[in-house]
């Protein structure tokens, strides 16, 4: 029923066909990889990682933040940025509105700062439930501003990426967000800032080809799909069948494109160790 589709449930968003299979609405959830059935609450407690097969499902941005930052330490940046429709692209405004209702988010990225086991750090978390976390003007602007804030405050910057790529409906303005965010990374690096990028499923196109790949350390969650061009496009271009694990985090690790693949349950501890080592080196205050 259409009405059911729009009913507001806390974590019951439907960003894509794939995610629909990932997280069906209701009390129960089914692992999209092995099919094991869970109570929603049980799955939530496990950060949406299947206990049986280890598959990492999509994690809403608020739960990602809660899982990493010390309780009560979270301060959100730039909550008032509103996306316009600069090209007057047909039905773009309606699509934004729909996703805003569905996710209770204003846009596809949440930025802010907090402490990770006591280490103060700025961060950005992209949320693929919102327009596949494609990058338009607001996403680019928020990420650039968070990097600038980290530079001014001399604190590290951690980003959890997820994105289908640039947001087509904003045309070249979205393309230029790649330049804007990368320039912000350059300024941050130049000032000696530590940047950690953690790519989550999926990270593609304009996001993969800008800040996501520009961390001092580039990590990914297990099984995350990461690439410049999508699998279908590559297959159609070269007319050959690609290996099953093409563009997975493990495939990228094998090809020297990542520093490590990190399980979501180990993430906080892992990041803490990096922050600790860097602070001991005097590079982050």
């Amino acid at each position: 029923m259409l009405k059911d589709f729009f009913s507001k449930k806390k974590h019951a968003s439907k960003p894509s066909e794939e995610a629909k299979q990932d997280i069906p609405e209701g009390l129960m959830l089914k692992c999209s990889s092995c099919g094991k059935i869970y109570y929603r609450e049980e799955m939530r407690k496990q950060l949406y990682v299947c206990q049986k097969c280890g598959h990492h499902h999509q994690l809403p941005s608020d739960e990602r933040i809660n899982s990493l930052f010390d309780e009560g330490s979270f301060l959100e940046y730039d909550t008032n940025l509103e996306t316009g429709n600069p090209l007057e692209f047909p039905s773009y405004s309606q699509k934004l509105e729909k996703d805003q209702l569905k996710t209770e988010l204003k846009e596809a990225v949440v930025t802010g700062e907090g402490t990770v086991n006591g280490f103060r750090t700025a961060f950005a978390v992209m949320d693929s439930r919102f327009r596949m976390a494609s990058m338009g003007s607001v996403v680019g602007e928020k990420i650039a501003r968070a990097l600038e804030k980290a530079r001014e405050e001399k604190i590290p910057f951690i980003i959890f990426t997820a994105s289908g790529g640039a947001r087509m409906q904003e045309g070249a303005l979205s393309l230029m967000q790649m330049a804007k965010t990368s320039a912000a990374v350059q300024r941050f690096r130049d000032a000696g800032g530590l940047m950690i990028s953690v790519m989550t499923n999926p990270t593609y196109g304009g996001v993969s080809a800008s800040f996501a790949s520009l961390g001092d350390y580039n990590f990914a969650e297990p099984g995350a799909l990461i690439g410049f061009a999508g699998r279908r496009v590559v297959e159609e271009t070269i007319r050959e069948k690609l290996p099953e694990d093409f563009q997975t985090a493990e495939f990228l690790l094998d090809h020297g494109q990542l520093d490590a693949v990190i399980n979501r349950h180990d993430m906080k501890k892992y990041l803490t160790t990096i922050l600790d080592i860097h602070q001991a080196g005097g590079h982050v205050s």
Partner: protein, 317 residues
């Protein structure tokens, strides 16, 4: 045989008619000069109408024209002592990007550009101007060198996009592009980027971060090809013409949106009609912008570059 674009057909037909009449006048006793003058006036008006009112899709055709001047064509006309250098020092040499050093009116510069072919054979060798990571890394290597030796960088943009292939993905297409964007934001030398043909997405932008982004009047610059957008948005690649309008990919639209700094005019009928005159127009633009940029202190240059990019985008607060 010169490629004829759809919207140019009336012009071509009229030109042929005039040529025919001229030949007829020469071969017979009949004097048709009055008629010819009339037709030539009409041709003048028709050309003016057509070429000053090009629709976005017409410009896409123009930007993709087989005879449209490429990076190497402009290099030949604009620079002296050009030496092309090869390889990224990691994997290979990508013929889809040319790079080297040269003199511009006596001044040392580094020149980098996408390079497509004009014939099928050359296009295959140059992968239709669609770079692999090693192409972007070759470009980065030369630009780093330019920064080291204090040479301004001139980039020519002319690509459908970065190549979407298996090997490109395996060797880090995303990282190669991202690194160029980041590093170009920080080089302490003037960078002038000129879109001469198609400016397709990240692969174009990877040579497009600098102090000035200029576009030839009939070039395009877009986040996705009109065909790609149409097939994603409307599941119909045939609606490319419509997508070309909606995406705002022409120099005029992008100037209005604040994405580019200026438009370089084209000779009537498009750059391919008269390379020498077109190169002169590009020359003027480079001289003008380079003169402005060279007056700036390094720190001011970088600060202004950052300001320029940080201001691009549309949002309310």
């Amino acid at each position: 045989m010169r490629q004829v674009l759809e919207f140019e057909k009336p012009v071509i037909a009229l030109r042929e008619k005039i040529a025919e009449l001229k030949k007829f006048t020469k071969d017979s006793d009949l004097d048709l000069s009055e008629e010819i003058v009339k037709l030539e006036t009409r041709l003048e008006k028709l050309e003016n109408d057509i070429y000053t009112n090009l629709k976005p899709w017409d410009r896409v055709q123009m930007a993709r024209h087989a005879d449209r001047p490429t990076t190497l064509d402009y290099i030949e006309h604009l620079f002296t002592d050009f030496l092309e250098f090869h390889g990224d020092r990691y994997y290979g040499d990508d013929a889809a990007i040319v790079a080297g050093i040269a003199k511009y009116k006596g001044q040392p510069v580094t020149v980098v550009g996408h390079q497509r072919g004009k014939s099928t054979k050359e296009n295959i060798r140059r992968n239709f101007g669609m770079p692999h990571p090693e192409g972007f890394r070759k470009a980065a290597r030369h630009m780093q060198q330019a920064a080291k030796f204090g040479r301004p960088i001139i980039c020519f943009i002319d690509t459908k996009g970065a190549f979407p292939g298996r090997a490109a993905e395996e060797r880090g297409q995303s990282e190669a592009i991202a690194r160029n964007l980041m590093e170009m934001a920080g080089f302490e030398v003037p960078i002038i980027c000129i879109v001469i043909g198609e400016g397709g997405s990240g692969g174009a932008l990877a040579l497009g971060v600098g102090d000035r982004l200029l576009m030839l009047e009939n070039s395009t610059f877009s986040v996705i090809s009109p065909e790609g957008a149409a097939s994603i948005l409307w599941k119909d690649g045939g609606k490319a013409k419509e997508a070309a309008e909606k995406l705002k990919i022409t120099a005029q639209d992008l100037k209005e949106l604040g994405v580019i700094d200026n438009i370089i005019p084209e000779v009537r009928g498009g750059a391919h009609r008269d390379l020498a005159s077109q190169a002169e127009l590009v020359d003027q633009a480079i001289t003008e912008n380079l003169t402005q940029l060279e007056k700036m202190d390094k720190q001011v240059l970088l600060e202004k570059r950052w300001e320029k990019y940080s201001n691009i985008g549309a949002y309310t607060e």
